[in-house]
């Protein structure tokens, strides 16, 4: 009831895409919490990647190759769990990296973090129900 409404809104509002459904489908009787396990790994991994990005963004001049590499990893894992909005911001960031547009990278990074934090809160609420 409430669970399915929350779940549906996550898709309707574009936070999650069909990859999340694939994760749900991979759970079974022996391993019913597969989605949560993967999402937990994602949080752990993301903390590390966000930290790397923050450090790299403090450097002067910016190493755009390194930034792109880190963001590529973050985009990849976000994509693998179906984090649609986070992935979109990562793509934007990568584009600014390619263009070596410092302001754009800075701004978009804040958006990446914002979307990530929002998703994390929503998923935590969802899994608790």
């Amino acid at each position: 009831r409430q669970v399915s409404l929350i779940r549906q809104s996550l898709f309707d509002q574009g936070f999650l895409d069909e990859q999340f459904i694939q994760l749900e489908e991979l759970g079974d009787d022996a391993n019913p919490n597969f989605v949560e396990e993967v999402v937990s790994l994602y949080y752990r991994d993301s903390v590390r990647l966000i930290h790397n990005l923050e450090q790299a963004l403090e450097k002067s001049p910016l190493d755009y190759n390194k930034l792109d590499e880190y963001m590529h990893q973050f985009k990849g894992s976000s994509s693998s769990i179906g984090a649609k909005k986070v992935k979109a911001e990562c793509t934007q960031f990568k584009e600014f990296c390619m263009a070596e547009y410092r302001e754009g990278c800075m701004r978009t990074f804040q958006q990446v973090k914002r979307e990530y934090t929002t998703l994390k809160k929503k998923l935590e609420a969802y899994f608790q129900v």
Partner: protein, 224 residues
């Protein structure tokens, strides 16, 4: 959070792991290479659901190490492949790898580099599948030309593994009671023919008509 159900979950998982270990000999063994923790977890699950035995490593170097190809540990590729063709094993005792699936973009050795190394070694007859989050046609062609069996786009789903079915289904010789006999015969023949390049063509042809039929079967055959 219920402690009792957690314990039950652990016991169930342990039982499952034990069963898996006992059945290792019969399963299609895939070596999965990816620097991403999340992608390794996902790929491992997708393969297990498809009744495969999986070994995950985080880099091309680790993959080479696993295959015994680091630092000239292996005898060179001039060794006749016929002695290995039927079992696809290496000089390592009983090491059997039926397929390698590797990410393309990895720090250090790329999936493409790994592909080249494998194809130039005594493991050259093992099918290698490349994966990437980026759809770059020239990259895909390059890999296929170098001998990659297939190039899959991430994020991976079960439907992607179904493209690999001609390889995977050879291993499912025990899980479906109805088809056991016919599958077993098929498995033996396919194993012997596996290394011949002409078989690749027939596998590719076999894929399209069979795939829709296989879809429900695969789910039914998954060992749980």
């Amino acid at each position: 959070m219920e402690l009792k159900s957690d314990i039950e979950d652990t016991l169930t998982q342990q039982k499952q792991q034990k069963q898996e270990q006992q059945q290792e000999q019969h399963h299609f063994h895939v070596l999965a290479v990816d620097d991403s923790l999340i992608d390794r977890k996902l790929l491992e699950k997708l393969l297990k659901v498809s009744s495969c035995q999986v070994t995950c490593v985080e880099s091309g170097d680790k993959a080479l190490e696993y295959l015994g190809l680091l630092d000239g540990l292996e005898c060179d590729a001039t060794l006749s492949s016929s002695s290995f063709s039927s079992t696809q094993s290496s000089k390592q005792e009983g090491l059997r790898v039926n397929m390698i699936m590797t990410d393309y973009c990895m720090p250090g050795m790329s999936g493409y580099d790994l592909l080249k190394r494998v194809k130039g070694s005594s493991w050259k007859d093992v099918p290698v599948v490349l994966m990437s989050s980026e759809n770059v046609p020239s990259r895909i062609s390059m890999c296929l030309e170098e001998g990659a069996e297939e190039f899959l786009l991430k994020p991976l789903q079960l439907s992607d593994l179904e493209k690999l079915q001609p390889h995977l289904l050879k291993s499912i010789d025990h899980s479906c009671e109805n088809n056991t006999k016919s599958n077993k015969d098929k498995n033996v023949d396919d194993d012997n023919n596996n290394c011949k390049s002409n078989n690749k063509l027939s596998k590719r042809k076999a894929m399209s008509p069979e795939t829709p039929e296989r879809r429900p079967k695969l789910k039914g055959l998954a060992v749980l």
